[in-house]
């Protein structure tokens, strides 16, 4: 196995939760507690957990949006913590984040063109083929109508706005995309479309995902490997089918058992009925 693209070792993040007075010790909350993980090139590592598990904090540490309390992050062989100036700039280009709420993470006063080309301009990189053509191409790739490049985020539906967020991440051709609950706020039909899009883009581009989510059914559709977090720690890591099919940790088992499910026999019956319907239609036609 080759060197992983990203390797986080013994990550720790503590927050001060109270005690800002002159007296009294500040209480500390350990949101991320000794977390180690690897993301390999071209794979999707899903980080799952319930609220307060520390999964989003871990994502922010890796994106260097907040500083670590302890531990090391290595990306493509370089120590992320030590990056400054130009190197840090380059890192921000190689690692992109797609957030949960597309509307609040896109500037409402900017057009799609401006939003999508902003990462390049911020990095002082040329826009290949000019801003207009570049935007049109990106919009097509994420399944948006390229004629809408002069529109504002509010003119798009939730799923479309999330596609804009994805296009923005793609603009700098990143090696790693951190999707932080990127499909959680979407309606189920739109969610399915965005999941399909994320998978297709990965097949085409070969980048990696760090996919943060609380929804295990969604994770199962997209992950190569899964890391389960609980109370700041990773309790289990493994290949997707192994974690879902043969969970080792009691917490993982509890989590999986709690997922509501449509009865498999109902699904089977539906598929039978669906086939019968199609056959009837074909026979009729």
């Amino acid at each position: 196995m080759s060197e992983p693209l990203l390797r986080a070792t013994n990550l720790v993040k503590e927050f001060t939760i109270r005690g800002t007075g002159l007296l009294g010790r500040a209480a500390r909350l350990r949101a991320v507690d000794d977390v180690s993980l690897e993301v390999r090139t071209g794979e999707t590592l899903a980080l799952v957990g319930e609220s307060g598990s520390g999964k989003s904090t871990t994502a922010r540490l890796i994106a260097r949006l907040i500083d670590t309390t302890g531990g090391a992050i290595e990306f493509a062989g370089r120590e992320v913590h030590a990056l400054t100036g130009k190197d840090l700039h380059a890192y921000r280009g190689e690692v992109q984040v797609v957030f949960q709420d597309p509307y609040s993470s896109l500037n409402p006063k900017h057009t799609v063109e401006r939003i999508v080309t902003a990462p390049l301009i911020y990095q002082k990189r040329p826009v290949p083929g000019g801003a207009r053509a570049f935007t049109r191409e990106l919009m097509e790739r994420v399944g948006l109508n390229p004629d809408h490049s002069a529109r504002f985020p509010a003119q798009f539906s939730g799923g479309q706005a999330q596609r804009i967020g994805i296009a923005r991440a793609l603009a700098v051709s990143p090696k790693l995309i951190i999707a932080d609950e990127a499909v959680s706020a979407l309606d189920v039909s739109v969610q399915a479309q965005v999941i399909n899009l994320l998978r297709r883009l990965q097949d085409e581009e070969g980048f990696s995902y760090l996919f943060i989510a609380h929804d295990l059914a969604v994770v199962r559709q997209i992950a190569t490997r899964v890391a389960v977090m609980n109370e700041g720690r990773i309790v289990e890591t493994g290949d997707r089918d192994q974690v879902f099919g043969d969970p080792q940790d009691p917490y993982t088992r509890k989590l999986l058992a709690a997922v509501p499910r449509i009865r498999p026999e109902w699904d089977a019956a539906r598929r039978r009925n669906e086939r019968a319907r199609r056959e009837r239609q074909e026979a009729g036609a």
């Binding site: 189920v188 039909s189 969610q191 479309q193 399909n196 929804d215 509890k254 709690a258 449509i262």
Partner: protein, 284 residues
């Protein structure tokens, strides 16, 4: 009314329910000509994506629509027409005969009062001549019934001292204290973690079993509704797409929209492949 007809009569009978708003752009209906029945002791699931009108339907039944909303059609509870009741009479129905559980338990509880006070006040406003002491006992019992440990002490705690799941239990205890005929739960587990969701769904099932109350579960989650409801109404953009027994809806959906929804749901235990979706997404 004889007992025979009473048994045949559904607990809730909704006919031609339409909810509309008058805006600058004109009249828009968010619920259109909705018909459904809820059998006595039954569990009805209303499923739909955002903007389907499912929450407006529940508020229309409660008579709690926002200002400016217009409601037409008929809503009968146990043979009593609710739409023609005066506000005062409707107050007697709310909480007492129809109780409601909302999505976000933290913001749905008043941060300034203990949970006990909030459970008691419903009881005391519906039952006259109840002493504080008696109401408090009812509150503690209700909290015990939703499995809140140490209820006698917890009754004096404030909402922020409870976890998300415990707060939703408090909300359910509030409805239980009144022994309502019908509980409407509007996305009761959407704001909760999956393990907590499972507990709350179990609790709702247990309460139905023990009290025989009817349940309307409003949700966007097809898996959740498949576990809870025996009858399902699918809504989209205010329209009734289709309705029927749960097994029929899940095994042999008739409407294209229902089939699309069922295809789009990611499964925890079924094949993994491209999720089937409709080809186009709506444009705003």
């Amino acid at each position: 009314m004889s007992t025979a007809t009473r048994d045949e009569q559904p607990l809730l009978r909704v006919r031609d329910l339409t909810v509309g708003f008058t805006t600058a752009a004109g009249e828009t209906n968010v619920v259109k000509h909705l018909d459904f029945d809820l059998a006595r002791g039954g569990a009805l699931g209303i499923v739909g994506e955002s903007g389907s009108g499912k929450s407006m339907t529940s508020l229309a039944v409660m008579g709690l629509l926002p200002k400016g909303a217009k409601r037409t059609g008929s809503i009968e509870l146990d043979g009593t027409e609710l739409t023609t009741l005066r506000e005062r009479q409707m107050q007697a129905v709310r909480g007492d005969r129809i109780a409601m559980v909302f999505q976000d338990p933290l913001s749905s509880l008043n941060p300034y009062y203990t949970v006990g006070t909030q459970i008691m006040e419903a009881y005391r406003s519906h039952r006259t001549g109840v002493t504080r002491r008696a109401a408090r006992k009812i509150a503690i019992e209700a909290m015990e019934r939703v499995h809140i440990k140490d209820a006698a002490r917890r009754v004096d705690h404030y909402p922020h001292q409870f976890s998300g799941g415990m707060r939703q239990r408090v909300m359910i205890a509030m409805t239980l204290s009144m022994e309502p005929d019908l509980i409407i739960a509007d996305e009761p587990t959407t704001a909760l973690d999956v393990t907590v969701q499972a507990q709350i769904l179990d609790l709702l099932a247990e309460i139905r079993r023990d009290t025989g109350a009817g349940l309307i579960l409003i949700t966007h989650d097809l898996a959740v509704v498949s576990e809870v409801a025996d009858h399902i109404v699918v809504m989209r953009d205010g329209d009734l797409v289709e309705q029927g027994p749960a097994e029929r809806i899940f095994c042999d959906p008739q409407a294209d929209y229902t089939r699309m929804l069922l295809d789009a749901v990611p499964r925890i235990d079924d094949e993994i492949g491209l999720l089937r979706t409709t080809s186009t997404e709506e444009t705003r």
